[in-house]
Amino acid sequence: MAITAVEAADSRPVLLGREKVERGIGIALLVGVTIWLIWNFIAGPVQFVNVALAGLRLGAIYALIALGYTLVYGIIELINFAHGDLFMLGSVFTSIVLVKWFGAGTGSLADWGLMLVTLVIVMAMCAGLNITSERVAYRRLRRAPKLAPLITAVGISFIFQWFGLLLNGSSQKSWPKVIPDGGLVLGPVTIDWSTIIVIVVTVPLLLILSYIVQRTRQGKAMRATAQDQDAARLMGINVDRTIAFTFALGGAMAGAAGLLYLETFGTTRYDAGFQLGLIAFTAAVLGGIGNLQGAVLGGVLIGLIQGFNDGLPYGFGQKWSQTVVFTILILLMVFKPEGILGKPTIEKV
């Protein structure tokens, strides 16, 4: 991440010692975590695999949310604080469309069909909301000082929370799930049906997204806009529409994540989005923000870490899981702000 060129130049000699210390601490932390994982694996291999599967399921959902952060950050360098709440609205929309309107039950073929239809509807709704917020607020602030769009995003996050509160009520609500309980039994290990469905839905979505960004004209326009808005505009790209399209993609992913979350955990809460969004953002940063593969990798890693922490015999347990994730975020910012797959950038002056 961006140390400005000037800062790097004038602080290099002073920093050398500190950089060494930082790298040393970073490596020590990694080694510690590895030892901890091996120790846990030896203590209970079956539990380890089960926990890893649960972590993977969570990680797939995080990856979908993290993609929204990374897409938007990649193109206009804005941390979209409202994105987590968009995901929350995705889960609330799902509960309304799937359960209240369609009246879906559990497990019949018709229910699966309804779930697919709902997936499309919810993705469209979230994409629409995200475009609207871009059109109403962020677009006008694109040339404003950095603080302005950030504060706006926080405000939009609050408005989304209000919307969720209005639709869902102030308490946590439980909903019937289309995906039945139980799972595929392989010897001592059980793979939940929900894990399988989450993977089955997530992977094609990621492939489609990657195809759009890498192979289509629109994707090319997105990449060009991300590199240099002015040059892209000179090349005849409609920058506003491209950015709106990016917001739509991110919103659609958040909608899908909302549906999968509801189908996995069966609950909605109006304030769920804030914390999950923060975790997903951590995932995006871990992978290298602005990098699509990085967001997926980071999402899966954070999901695994949270799963391990919650479920392993020597973990801190669930009540500390958010603290663990946010500590990772802070450590990451200190030791490797560019993330695993990201490149250190030089800030444009």
Partner: protein, 417 residues
């Protein structure tokens, strides 16, 4: 304040003379309004007649004035970080929580695991377990602890770009209350009493020199004896003093070397560093001073509620504080104070009361407090879109915030589609 060295405050004599007289004038206004409110609630209110009293008790009880003062103290602190130095801090609630728990630890029976009864100028009744310090000492202690926490969180993260910094502070603001929530059993040691919180706190005395039972006249009885939890008038005096301190410090620092360094960093970090402003040290100082005031606010909040509970310290507090700073005008202390008073009143009393009256009048059943989110979110968005410099801006802030960042050519092309 440890960080405002004397020479930092005293530099540039010619300019700060004008500024000082300006400050003095405002200080007079501050004192006049504070005394007016005190006189009103102490002497005028009992003579208002019953209907007048009911209106005041419903729409503007002294308790909500006190709570608004707590918000003022914290908003002034956040204004130093966001308004002066231009660093977005979304985790200010962490300092508030740390301050609150400092009060809980050092001003109650809670630490009976450590001490059978340690007293220092405390107004608490004797022969109780736990640690009992004088509230003014606790204020300073909480401020210092928070300033330390601010430095610890700031040191590794302030090198980052502003948006990343916002995220890290947000994470910090989430972690700290969670630590307090989960801290009931840390290797067998009950640090925070978990969700049960710490309650009740010691009685406090509103004036800095410890408990005094000497009564001189009617009014001074009220402010010199140890205060019970419901002694709102005397607490008001105490809160006004703390708020005055916060306002004084932030006004004076702004005129000094440190304050001018902050403004320079806010306006152009690169240019400031070329001019020899030490970026890291100045930013850290902004963080520490802001956190100090967050700590003061935390103690005052704990005294106001006579208790500390972890679930009171939620993310919404950080955002409401931010809304106060943004609404009043980033960087302008007086604007921020007005913003804090108005929004705090609206949040605690105005909106619920308005909702009750509205529902009674029209027979509806709308849950108005749930519109808080919409209200504060809209304030942030609308202010950023239409009046970025706040309702009471300084000329300087307005110029900075309205300057276009990129070329005019782009504006011609991309403005309207």
């Amino acid at each position: 304040m440890a960080l405002s060295t004397p020479e930092a405050v005293e530099t540039a004599p010619a300019k700060s003379d004008i500024a000082a007289s300006h400050t003095r004038r405002w200080a007079l206004w501050f004192a006049a309004i504070a005394v007016f409110v005190w006189v009103f609630y102490t002497f005028a209110l009992p003579n208002l007649g019953s209907s007048g009293q009911t209106i005041v008790r419903e729409w503007m009880p002294l308790g909500s004035v006190n709570e608004a003062l707590v918000w003022v103290i914290c908003a002034v602190g956040l204004n130093i970080v966001v308004g002066y130095a231009g660093l977005l801090d979304l985790g200010f609630v962490a300092f508030w929580a740390i301050g609150g728990y400092t009060a809980g630890w050092f001003m109650s029976n809670f630490f009976n695991q450590i001490s059978n009864g340690f007293y220092f100028l405390s107004a608490a009744p004797p022969n109780q377990p736990g640690i009992h310090l004088n509230v003014w000492l606790v204020l300073g202690l909480a401020g210092l602890i928070c300033a330390g926490a601010g430095i610890i969180i700031g040191a590794p993260t302030l090198r980052l770009k502003s948006d990343y910094l916002a995220l890290v502070t947000l994470g910090f603001g989430e972690i700290i209350p969670q630590v307090f929530l989960n801290g009931a059993d840390i290797r067998g040691f009950n640090l925070t009493n978990g969700a049960l919180g710490i309650s009740p706190l010691d009685n406090v005395s509103p004036l800095p020199f410890g408990p005094s039972t000497i009564a001189i006249g009617d009014a001074s009885i009220a402010i010199s004896k140890p205060l019970g939890p419901f002694d709102t008038t005397a607490k008001y005096v105490m809160f006004v003093l703390v708020a005055a301190f916060a306002v004084f410090v932030s006004l004076r620092i702004r005129e000094g070397r440190l304050g001018r360094a902050w403004l320079a960093i806010r306006e152009d970090e690169l240019a400031a560093s070329m001019m020899g402003v030490p970026l890291m040290r100045s930013k850290l100082a902004a963080y520490a001073v802001g956190a100090f005031m967050g700590g003061l606010g935390g103690v005052v909040y704990a005294v106001h509620n006579n208790s500390v509970f972890p679930d009171r310290f939620n993310f919404a507090i950080s955002i409401i504080l931010l809304a106060m700073v943004v609404l009043g005008g980033m960087g302008n202390v007086w604007g921020v104070i007005v913003g804090a008073l108005v929004l705090a009143w609206f949040n605690s009393t105005g909106l619920p009361q308005f909702g009750d009256s509205f529902n009674q009048q029209f027979g509806t059943d709308i849950n108005f407090p749930s519109y808080n989110y919409l209200f504060f979110g809209s304030i942030l968005v609308l202010m950023m879109l239409f009046r970025r410099e706040g309702l009471f801006p300084e000329t300087r802030t307005r110029q900075v915030l309205q300057e276009a960042e990129r070329s005019d050519a782009e504006e011609l092309d991309g403005g309207e589609v």
